[in-house]
């Protein structure tokens, strides 16, 4: 396993992606001018580019309905909504996010990360390290025990009730058994992951989503502003040694934000299987009320000592958690990396301290579409554009990982993007 040090991190080459990415990709709603990309110029001799319509759906909930109903032709969503389309027979998976072209460029792209406020990192570094250690081992556990993890996540997220999607009923656990293997649970800030992160920073700057401190910084400064892997590195070392040092007791209750998503399965597993982690690593998040199906207060126990009382705050979007962090409503959070970046850009004193998982999204097209993979999808999109009825593809929201990836993917393939309503 690679152990990036602070120095190693900054020495990772910043650009391993396609050269096209160096060209500004500008899609702003205010003025829909799309800067021509080199690839695009090569493709469209006539000068008029094919179009795809982007629909901002504000979350993924309505997407299956919109797709089944023919209001959209496809969507890009996080898991398990990619699997849901398949299982409910309303769509097919075109491509998982890690496989987006050019081949390998999005491999291990970042998704959810753990962030912690500067305050808590400096006031309770050993606590943050202990949490990191637990997150490392729980990430590991999920990767190796997919089916059991799927059961725990299903239970946490949606209980035992079957999903109803149109005519189909599916058990949540079956959905998650399909979706978890497509998500790469790893707490390792690998070079792929770092590249992906930088790509998001770049793109967010170009899209105008960030315009503050981060945008104006050099790549090195950016890394320093955004990442702080020190707790992670110490944690990693402790895990490898097999001994977790008992941190000082944290007097004030700590709030930890998370998303109601299977991407945060490691957290659910860490809590539901706390006994296992306690026995094996002597570190655990023990629910205060063990009968609660979705505990909201847990204790961090290290080597049998109660270290901290932690309140869990669920949210349906990362940005809300970042607003909370800025208001000192939470001290640590599981959230997608873009909201963390833009929060730092706007002056929130918070850092990304480790990844939770990589990849875990996908593009879905309606069941009746002629597309089967990303190439035929592009052809279909072109054909529809030529016919004068461009595809409508939904994204969960402006500036989300999924939104950014779809925009880059389509623009690189020579499309003009238009937000529709």
């Amino acid at each position: 396993t690679q152990q990036p040090s602070g120095a190693a991190t900054s020495s990772v080459p910043t650009k391993t992606a396609t050269p096209e990415l160096n060209v500004p990709v500008t899609v702003t709603a205010a003025n829909n001018n799309t800067t021509a990309l080199q690839a695009t110029q090569a493709m469209t001799a006539s000068g008029s580019k094919p179009t795809v319509n982007i629909l901002l759906s504000k979350g993924v909930g309505p997407m299956p309905m919109l797709l089944a109903d023919g209001q959209i032709d496809g969507y890009i969503a996080w898991q398990p909504f990619v699997e849901v389309a398949k299982l409910a027979n309303i769509g097919k998976v075109i491509v998982y996010s890690g496989d987006l072209p050019p081949a390998g460029s999005w491999k291990n792209h970042p998704c959810d990360v753990i962030s912690a406020t500067d305050d808590i990192i400096s006031s309770n570094p050993d606590f943050v390290t202990a949490m990191d250690a637990l997150f490392i081992v729980s990430d590991d556990y999920v990767s190796n025990n997919t089916n059991e993890s799927a059961a725990i996540a299903a239970d946490w997220l949606v209980g035992k009730m079957n999903f109803t999607y149109g005519k189909t009923q599916v058990a949540p656990i079956d959905v998650l058994k399909e979706s978890l293997p497509t998500i790469r649970f790893s707490s390792d800030p690998s070079p792929d992951w770092m590249n992906g992160s930088r790509k998001f920073i770049e793109t967010e700057a170009e899209l105008g989503y960030i315009g503050g401190a981060v945008k104006n910084a050099s790549p090195e400064e950016r890394d320093a502003m955004i990442f702080n892997f020190k707790p992670y590195e110490s944690a990693k070392a402790m895990v490898e040694k097999g001994y977790i040092t008992t941190p000082n007791k944290v007097e004030k209750q700590v709030s930890l934000g998370y998303l109601m998503s299977d991407h945060d399965t490691p957290l659910f597993v860490a809590i539901k299987n706390w006994q296992y982690f306690n026995d094996k690593y002597h570190i655990a998040l023990k629910p205060v009320d063990p009968t609660a199906s979705r505990p909201d207060v847990v204790e961090l126990i290290v080597n049998g000592d109660n270290i901290a009382n932690i309140r869990l705050i669920s949210a349906d979007a990362g940005p809300q958690l970042m607003t909370l962090a800025a208001q000192n409503g939470i001290q640590m959070a599981y959230a997608g990396i873009p909201p963390v970046i833009s929060a730092i850009d706007k002056g929130t004193k918070i850092k990304v301290i480790q990844p939770v998982q990589n990849e875990g999204s996908g593009i879905v097209a309606s069941a009746s579409s002629p597309a089967n993979d990303w190439k035929s999808f592009i052809d279909w999109a072109k054909q529809r554009s030529d016919e004068g009825k461009p595809l409508i593809i939904a994204t969960p929201g402006k500036g989300s990982i999924q939104d950014v990836m779809l925009r880059i993917f389509l623009e690189e393939n020579g499309f003009d993007l238009k937000e529709v309503s």
Partner: protein, 260 residues
């Protein structure tokens, strides 16, 4: 004969709900798409097992109880602030002028828009929720109290003064009972709006229970039948409370209508 008239009335009253249910079911079978129109069975399945867990968030009854508690807390806060303020604004022109502009400016802002500020000021938890709910209930209670107090007949007050009542007696024995019916209407309307605000309040981060949460959570997972079941329960509870308020009105405040 009185009985048959009453029967006919009941019949007329339930025709439309029946028509809607039947049409719904017929259309549901015709369209055969649970996304657009879930079958009544699917909805009933949720409604008739009100203690069964829904999306890992507990049963309908439990969530309804939680929401009702939240609404009651927010409603009480609103009433405790709005009634005294309304009385003062209704009695004293200066107090009215002092608060008027601010109130008129804040009134049109939807509770949903207050979510971020509420989070910042009151943190996550019941305080924030109560704030959002209270915001919704506050204005109808305030404005009706004010109206009620202004509507207290001058001659009642003069008669009381003339009979030797002090300012405090007048407040307690004339202004309060005299404006009570209008105030009650304000409480009724305010409660209705508080109840409607529960969805906005339960969209606050950190919430994982309540009918409003259930509806929005079901929306996030695309579970239409749960949403509709939630709506039915919200409608029913709203109806029950409204009926309670109206019944009290009929019993206690009928003098207002009859005194005309």
């Amino acid at each position: 004969m009185g009985k048959s008239i009453c029967c006919k009335k009941t019949l007329i009253r339930i025709i439309l709900p029946l028509i809607i249910i039947i049409t719904w079911e017929a259309l549901a079978y015709l369209i055969n798409n649970e996304f657009i129109l879930p079958k009544i069975e699917s909805i009933l399945l949720v409604l008739l097992t009100p203690t069964a867990d829904i999306l890992g968030s507990g049963g309908l009854i439990g969530n309804a109880a939680i929401s009702i508690t939240r609404v009651l807390i927010g409603f009480l806060v609103a009433a405790l602030v709005a009634i005294p303020l309304g009385i003062m604004m209704g009695r004293r022109e200066t107090v009215h002028d002092f608060f008027d502009v601010t109130i008129q400016l804040i009134r049109p802002v939807p509770p949903l828009a207050w979510v971020p500020l509420s989070l910042a000021w009151f943190k996550i938890g019941i305080t924030s929720m109560a704030f959002l709910i209270a915001l919704g209930a506050f204005f109808p209670i305030l404005l009706n109290t004010m109206d009620g107090v202004k509507g207290v007949k001058r001659t009642w007050i003069e008669a009381a003064t003339n009979l030797g009542a002090s300012e405090w007696h007048i407040l307690k024995k004339v202004v309060l009972p005299g404006s009570a019916p209008t105030m009650w209407t304000g409480l009724r309307v305010g409660f209705g709006i508080a109840w409607m605000c529960v969805v906005a309040a339960e969209m606050l981060p950190g919430t994982n229970s309540g009918l409003g949460y259930l509806i929005m959570y079901a929306y996030n997972w695309g579970q239409v039948q749960v949403i509709i079941a939630g709506m039915v329960i919200i409608g029913l509870i709203g109806l029950i409370f409204d009926t309670f308020f109206k019944e009290v009105e009929r019993r206690k405040f009928s003098w207002r209508e009859l005194d005309r």
